[in-house]
């Protein structure tokens, strides 16, 4: 009976890495995973309107001002009105770029700044030269939820 061959250090390492000989080294195999969980999209807040759940459960994203049951005749009119309002708002944001805008905010705050841009969910406005009672802020973000109204000369 020939004595067993001695393993080299490299062969030992290969045995460990391949997961073979688990009884001797007592190494359990980790459970396989198909992929990692998907992370957040940096560009949006999610809630994909194309998902099956959204299409099934969300008829309109905001409840109609009319009664809680969707009136088939009123809905297209209301949607048209909403899209006109939305388009006007977006065009307003576009024409405001680089102009001086006056913001009326909560807590009796009135400030003036040069409008830069809005983020996609209209949560923040990027402005420059924000004039505040305690000085001029070169660059600032204004929280849209704090804004009551804003005016500018087009």
């Amino acid at each position: 009976m020939t004595p067993p061959k001695k393993k080299t250090l490299q062969q030992h390492a290969l045995t460990l890495l391949s997961g073979a000989n688990t009884e001797r080294f007592n190494m359990a195999t980790p459970v396989s995973v198909l992929r990692l969980p998907k992370g957040p999209d940096p560009n949006s807040r999610g809630f994909d309107p194309k998902s099956a759940r959204f299409i099934a459960l969300c008829r309109t994203s905001i409840a109609t001002s009319a009664s809680s049951e969707t009136n088939a005749e009123q809905l297209p009119r209301e949607q048209h009105a909403r899209s006109v309002l939305r388009e006007t708002f977006l065009r307003c944001l576009l024409s405001m770029t680089n102009k001086k805008v006056h913001f009326l905010m909560h807590e009796r705050v009135k400030v003036e700044a040069t409008f830069g841009a809005s983020d996609i969910d209209v949560l923040n406005f990027q402005v420059s030269d924000l004039h505040t009672p305690i000085g001029v802020q070169k660059e600032a973000l204004i929280r849209c939820q704090d804004v009551i109204s804003f005016t500018f000369d087009s």
Partner: protein, 329 residues
């Protein structure tokens, strides 16, 4: 052949994850919501951890988050002194409920018509979601900030845990205190299982199990480290716990024996919950991540795949798929 647990890491939060909750099982699966100190609670698909959306609007750390049974509504409790109700399908904010101090906990009734809130103003509030403009009913009694409040006994009663080291049971119709449990130390978490009326409480290194109706003690189990949260499996055969030593522990509920412990988080575990089908449990940590763990390690479920020994040689390339390096919060 022994299999080693591969936790699935859900990244995205930038600050500690302090609370998490699962929905019930819906036709679209089940869902998970996480509360985070970064103020941006997230909704995820429960069985995979895939991100679905982020609820944007809170102006402070979110301390509590919950989903209703069919995951159509979400509620969050925040340090900005508000609780918010959200449409969990569109992500839109539906209601903002102003409070007089930090709100810590929110809970829907089974029919989603009433929201229970509690926080640092020591009051429990019941909001009628059908008439949200109406003033909420208030229940006073706790002498310190309320940490957790839950509906129980078919929404006829309320359980609350506060920093005054008590857990109190209240009757919804009379708004009166029915019973009280006193502890020597602060209660760190509370979970309620309607099926079996069991209350799971953690304090110090102990996990206590109580009858939710009578508040009688069923049993206590001690863990090796201070525990922040524990969850009992729906079949009541296991429970899991996590806390200050960053590990997740799995115990046999019947024998109280510690079965497994898992390392993985880079910070204390703040919350742990079993999924509604019991196939996995999720943990939230100071390290800003959520991790999903299999109850039956090696089983094919969600993103986990059972690989049989004869396939090992063929699938070597995908077998040892490890998570990318962790980014510390």
């Amino acid at each position: 052949m022994a299999m080693r647990q591969t936790p699935l890491t859900c990244s995205g939060h930038t600050r500690p994850v302090v609370d998490l909750a699962f929905s019930g099982i819906t036709p679209y699966g089940y869902f998970l919501i996480s509360a985070c100190k970064d103020g941006k609670p997230m909704l995820r698909q429960g069985d995979t951890g895939d991100w679905i959306g982020t609820f944007l609007g809170h102006k402070g750390a979110v301390w509590g988050a919950t989903l209703n049974t069919d995951a159509t509504k979400a509620a969050t409790a925040a340090a900005d002194f508000t609780a918010k109700v959200w449409d969990a399908v569109s992500g839109d904010e539906v209601l903002t409920l102003a409070h007089k101090h930090i709100v810590k906990t929110v809970n829907f009734t089974q029919d989603s018509t009433c929201l229970l809130t509690g926080g640092n103003d020591k009051l429990l509030r019941l909001y009628d979601l059908i008439n949200p403009e109406a003033a909420p009913q208030e229940i006073a009694g706790h002498t310190s900030a309320i940490k957790k409040a839950l509906w129980c006994n078919n929404d006829k009663q309320i359980l609350s845990a506060a920093d005054d080291k008590t857990i109190r049971l209240w009757d919804r119709s009379s708004m009166e205190e029915v019973k009280q449990l006193k502890f020597d130390t602060s209660v760190s978490s509370m979970e309620y299982l309607a099926d079996g009326e069991i209350l799971v409480i953690t304090y110090g290194k102990t996990i206590g199990f109580y009858n939710a109706l009578s508040l009688d003690l069923i049993k206590t189990v001690d863990a090796p480290a201070p525990i922040n949260s524990a969850s009992l499996h729906p079949d009541k055969d296991f429970f899991v716990a996590g806390g200050e030593d960053f590990k997740l522990y799995k115990f046999d509920y019947g024998t109280k024996e510690e079965l497994e412990s898992y390392k993985g988080h880079f910070g204390p575990v703040h919350c742990v919950r079993f999924s509604p089908d019991g196939e996995l449990y999720a943990s939230g940590s100071e390290d800003g991540t959520l991790r999903l763990w299999q109850t039956a390690v090696g089983k094919t479920y969600g993103l986990w795949k059972c690989v049989l020994p004869e396939d090992l040689g063929v699938e070597n390339s995908e077998q040892l798929y490890t998570s990318p390096p962790e980014i510390k919060a």
